[in-house]
């Protein structure tokens, strides 16, 4: 079990290094290595200064690296949240967006774009900030709506998520219609992309994602028991209601943070958990961490394709996740059956 996780971590590291070396601008391998190693304390002393062009260092350290980190953060969150919600709802179609969080983020982004809201955090546009606030508000609304009936069943949760989600989409569509000018910008945001992002985005999302993922991994055992049914879980010492609340909260939090910095990137939260379930089995103590790592690997690689395939132009990464994800999923499915 440990061995598999370590292997996945090594794969993730390899994917990140490859992604740092590949891009629309060709940078010689020796320079990539020396730029990367030159940034590590102590090691840097042993790296000869090759008189590297400033632009190359900027491209690797300020353009590629934050983008790769963001891909890891978003990929891990979406895959982790997807695996959790599929288990919790016992529904293979559940994905991180099913609770309406993406609609909340989309509405927040739409408001920020069409009303040209000013930014609060320097170096970060108002769009991710508004998206994050709106998705947290949505999460709270879904939470209270689901609780309004007195007892919280998972079906009520799903239903209120869907209802809130469609309501917010309607509000958003109306806003888009009224503010015709910003229509294209909003559409582009909705498609999801990691283009032109910096460390400010990484810093904004990382704390929530880090915290949320830790909570999910800690709750993996409880999630296993919850999958057996409420009564079984109670007999085995887990109080179902608070456990479910914590799990829903943590997965919503990581989704909210990643959607607000990356837009709506589909397929990762659906495909990666299913693939990992076929590889490592349904035990969430192994499934969650491996989905989280594999989500990072998948999005890093997908984004590398997105930014190099038709260089100097880029493809929205959501297009690549779907194009690559679907056939890959079928491949895994077929191999599994054999």
């Amino acid at each position: 079990m440990k061995k598999r996780l370590v292997m996945l971590l090594l794969l993730l590291f390899a994917a990140m290094v490859i992604a740092a070396g590949v891009g629309a601008v060709t940078i010689p391998v020796a320079e990539v290595i020396s730029i990367l190693l030159g940034r590590i304390p102590y090691v840097s002393k042993w790296i000869p200064n090759m008189g590297i062009e400033n632009a190359y260092a900027t491209i690797i350290l300020q353009v590629r690296l934050p983008r790769i980190l963001l891909a890891v953060i978003i990929g891990s969150s979406l895959a982790g949240a997807g695996a959790t919600l599929q288990g919790l709802f016992g529904n293979p179609l559940a994905d991180p967006y099913i609770m309406g969080i993406s609609s909340g983020a989309a509405l927040g982004a739409t408001i920020a774009i069409s009303f040209k809201l000013p930014s609060v955090i320097p170096g970060l546009s108002s769009v991710p900030q508004a998206a994050f606030l709106a998705s947290i508000a949505t999460m709270t609304a879904v939470y209270f709506l689901a609780g309004a009936s007195g007892r919280v069943s998972m079906d009520t949760f799903l239903l209120s998520g869907v209802v809130v989600s469609s309501f917010l989409w309607a509000v958003m569509s109306f806003l888009m219609m009224v503010s015709g000018d910003s229509l294209r910008e909003i559409m582009m945001w909705l498609m999801g992309s990691l283009s032109n992002k910096g460390y400010a985005h990484v810093k904004m999302a990382a704390p929530y994602v880090g915290f949320g993922i830790c909570v999910l991994i800690v709750m993996a055992r409880d999630l296993n028991l919850l999958c057996l049914g409420d009564d079984e879980a109670r007999n085995l010492g887990v109080d179902p209601l608070p456990a479910k609340r914590i799990i829903v909260f943590a997965s919503s939090l990581v989704t909210a943070a990643s959607v607000s910095v990356g837009g709506i990137i589909g397929f990762v939260g659906l495909i990666v958990p299913h693939t990992m379930r076929m590889v490592v089995g349904p035990d969430h103590r192994l499934l969650l961490p491996s989905s989280i790592i594999a989500g990072g690997i998948f999005l890093v690689l997908a984004d590398t394709i997105a930014r190099t395939l038709i260089a100097p132009c880029e493809i929205p990464v959501g297009v690549i996740t779907a194009l690559v994800g679907a056939p890959f999923f079928f491949y895994v499915l077929k191999r599994r059956k054999r």
Partner: protein, 315 residues
């Protein structure tokens, strides 16, 4: 399906013909009754033009009422002195100021019923985006003129076309001559500047998240070239591509033009701080309408671009 739509077509044609004949009969009867004894007016002149879709459009002159369903068309109509004849525009038609006071016929989607109710003598549309509206209105018997200029010269030609279709040939030729002279003047000044300073590399940021720019085939690309600059995304292969940030940094633009974000937003991005345009402060925000709307103000956009790309060359 095909046969059906074909019959629909014939049906609507016939209905149209019948209703037309009826209206005509009534008009003749009424006017006959009113103008007994008076000399009969010279019969209305009819012009035939070929629009951007290659269709033969017959327009009866004089054109009294026009509906414009694109901001660029509205600007052309007003520039030709037809402002008073415009009876309907879109929500996006914000120039000139008088256009904003006109009744609206739609935003992105056009309100067909409203346009039919207005029964304008002419609707001026844009070919590419509005094919279905053009088809619907034409089938309803409304005369629709489609414009679709792709180049600066094409814009001048479409002004000539509108002039011809509205009997404003003279105004159109005056306008295109004036604009043509201005373009020529800018062209020669730009050529002079290029001979002295070369072609500065220009990056146009249309949108920042994702990073989008103007590629080949856009007016922006053409205007930058005429104004003596080099669009660094001229090889993008698409009109409005998502563009690679690292390629922007590598090509190191000397001038950055934004249409959405402010210059300060660009300056605040850590990755951009070594870009020449950021170091020298040559970041300028422009009104996108004068860069993208195929109307008379493109020439103003061209002028502003020259001033930004080769400062002082206009004097």
């Amino acid at each position: 399906m095909d046969v059906n739509s074909c019959w629909d077509h014939v049906g609507s044609r016939m209905r149209f013909a019948i209703s037309h004949a009826l209206v005509l009969a009534i008009i003749i009867a009424v006017s006959g009754a009113l103008t007994i004894g008076a000399p009969v007016n010279a019969k209305a002149r009819e012009v035939t033009v070929i629009d951007a879709l290659g269709r033969e459009i017959k327009v009866e002159l004089p054109v009294q009422s026009i509906v414009s369903i694109a901001p660029s068309n509205t600007e052309i109509l007003f520039a030709l002195g037809l402002g008073a004849n415009v009876i309907g525009v879109t929500e996006a038609c914000d120039y000139p100021t008088d256009a904003k006071l006109k009744p609206k016929v739609g935003q992105v989607e056009m309100n067909i019923e409203k346009i039919v109710e207005m029964s304008p003598d002419l609707v001026v549309a844009v070919a590419g985006m509005q094919m279905s509206v053009i088809e619907t209105l034409s089938n309803l018997g409304i005369t629709v003129l489609a414009l679709d200029p792709k180049t600066l010269q094409g814009v001048l030609d479409s002004m000539t076309l509108v002039g011809k279709a509205t009997g404003r040939d003279e105004a159109a030729s005056l306008l295109t001559q004036e604009l043509g002279n201005e373009i020529q003047d800018i062209q020669s000044k730009a050529a002079e500047a290029v001979a002295g300073e070369g072609r500065p590399k220009v990056f146009v940021e249309i949108w920042d998240d994702p990073l989008m720019t103007a590629g080949p085939g856009t007016f922006i690309d053409e205007l930058i070239r005429i104004a003596g600059g080099e669009n660094i995304s001229g090889d993008a292969g698409m009109e409005w591509p998502e563009f690679s940030l690292e390629v922007v940094l590598e090509r190191d633009p000397e001038v950055i033009i934004t249409v959405w974000r402010d210059a300060d937003d660009v300056r605040a991005r850590p990755a951009w701080k070594h870009v020449s345009a950021v170091k020298t402060g040559r970041i300028q925000k422009m009104n996108p309408d004068i860069l993208t709307r195929p109307g008379p103000r493109l020439v103003q956009g061209l002028k502003e671009l020259l001033e930004i790309i080769h400062p002082g060359s206009l004097d």
